[in-house]
Subunit: 320 residues, 2 copies
């Protein structure tokens, strides 16, 4: 840890004034040296009150996705042990992909305040205005087959859905296979990409885009943000921490016990189960009644002619 | 085309002496200029006889995987329209992967005379001594799901199996999912790698390694080469051209008509269908009778207890 992070940790833990003398002593720096470190911390957007005779006190934390804040006391087993944060990248998935290709560890997270070429499924874009959303990518190395990758997408979707509900008490739903929906509008999308052999995944990138405090005017018509639906801004740091914690838990359950218990939770939060939908799937449009999500995460659709269709991925619209 | 390739094309087409004067005239070069080009061609290993008053005649072609020879009059629709040849690379799959990632076209082929880190399935290595084998990788961009990738492996295996049989009349078989077998010994392996989303393959690399004129002493115990089984060396150029032609045909059939007709050919050439096998599959060993290869290319195994197991990939050994 750098001196900045260590001093921040002390200020955060103390929640009150910490004397400059004490800090000088702890870090073997002069009072002027400590003052300089405090200035560097303040330059990140932290508000630190300095009082003669009393010392320094942390008054407010900036709304910025700073690795120190994201990982401070984060009690996960695997996800977010290493967070790499950027001001602006083309696409966090692309950065994470390169990192994974160079051997980055499972659970490494890339996050950026802005994406110039944010990616959605099937070559679409993901609008990523600065300081408003969470654009993060998790590097995973699960011991599963490529055909099991949709389960990881669903685990990510579930993690975000649960995290939003916990922080806001808004009813949020999973729109199979990769969106989170509030009041019928999309606030989060997942893009899972992988590097694989036929019978082994070398690595997988779970890309998560959440519209947190984004103004609706910046977003496509069918999309919204948590702020727009909740009425007030929420802490992106807290939400991102929670997403990493939930993902870590579900991912561990998945690896130890399989997909079963996770699947039942996904079904409970499903936006389309039991409803009539239209699906765009490999250049076809089909309509039917969503009967189930099966043990591999595929959608089981009952068509009007009575036939059952199993769909492993596609675009889905609830109808009527 | 470079002047070298154009002069080579003329010499190959004529199959007799071509006068230096005619070449000078055609290319607008001096006689000395033509002589220099001929020297450059000879430096590649071509034998060209020069006769006063008669001119130049192509007498022999080197046993080298030269793009000109590999693509000359190659009548494929897609595969091998662009061949990139190297003397030595770490792995042709890695080169092809990078090229594909930078946008290389479908059908682009990478080939190398030697691989320092030739790759097999599941992180294994592929012994790749210089000037003995064919180590090639085909870049593909099929509009299929990741779970359909095993079909591409089987198409590659079938293409090599057919090509070997055509050139040598040796009985060669497909050992599911990715080997070609002659006299019970492996002479070819396929490594398919991909870059994919959950519901789209961005690109796929079909890596093909063939032991052509390799001495058995260079190979692992269970492996052999075409030369060892056939008794004499065969032309690597001719074999590689044939592989590209067959792959091109099967790949087109696959895209236009689906996997059905290809599957029946694969079954006909299967080494294990109807036999008893032991399969190593995701940390398990199971034994049973190979009952079928299903429409997705998966192995259908009947276990001794009567249960049917469907296996999408694994290592297989025929027993008894």
């Amino acid at each position: 840890m750098q001196t900045e992070d260590r001093i921040l940790a002390i200020l955060k833990a103390k929640k009150d004034f910490v004397s400059g003398e004490e800090l000088s002593h702890t870090f073997g720096l002069t009072r002027m040296g400590i003052w300089k470190v405090i200035q560097r911390i303040k330059s990140l957007g932290y508000v630190i009150t300095a009082q003669p005779h009393e010392g320094y006190k942390l008054t407010s934390i900036p709304d910025r996705l700073i690795p120190f804040e994201l990982t401070w006391n984060l009690k996960t087993k695997c996800i977010g042990k290493n967070v790499l944060a950027f001001e602006r990248v083309a696409s966090t998935n692309d950065n994470a992909y390169e990192l994974a290709n160079s051997g980055a560890k499972e659970g490494t997270v890339v996050v950026s305040e802005e994406q110039s070429e944010g990616k959605g499924r099937l070559g679409r874009s993901w609008i990523s205005p600065p300081y408003k959303g969470i654009y993060m990518s998790i590097i995973l190395r699960p011991d599963i087959l490529p055909l099991d990758a949709p389960k990881i997408t669903l685990i990510a979707t579930l993690s975000v859905c649960r995290s939003i509900s916990e922080m806001t008490s808004l009813l949020s739903f999973i729109k199979w296979p990769n969106d989170v929906i509030i009041n019928g509008r999309k606030v989060c999308g997942i893009l899972t990409e992988m590097n694989a052999e036929v019978d082994r995944i070398n690595f997988l990138i779970a890309g998560i885009g959440v519209n947190v405090n984004t103004d609706r005017s910046c977003l496509p018509k069918e999309a919204s943000s948590i702020k727009e639906e909740f009425g007030i801004r929420i802490s992106r740091i807290e939400l991102m921490r929670l997403i990493m914690i939930r993902f870590d838990e579900y991912y561990e359950v998945f690896q130890r016990k399989g997909f079963g218990t996770i699947l039942s939770e996904i079904k409970r939060l499903s936006y389309s189960l039991g409803k009539r939908v239209r699906v765009h799937y490999l250049d076809r449009f089909i309509e039917g009644h969503v009967q189930d999500i099966d043990k591999d995460g595929a959608l089981i659709l009952r068509l009007d002619n009575g036939f059952i269709e199993r769909i492993s991925a596609g675009d889905l619209v609830n109808v009527r």
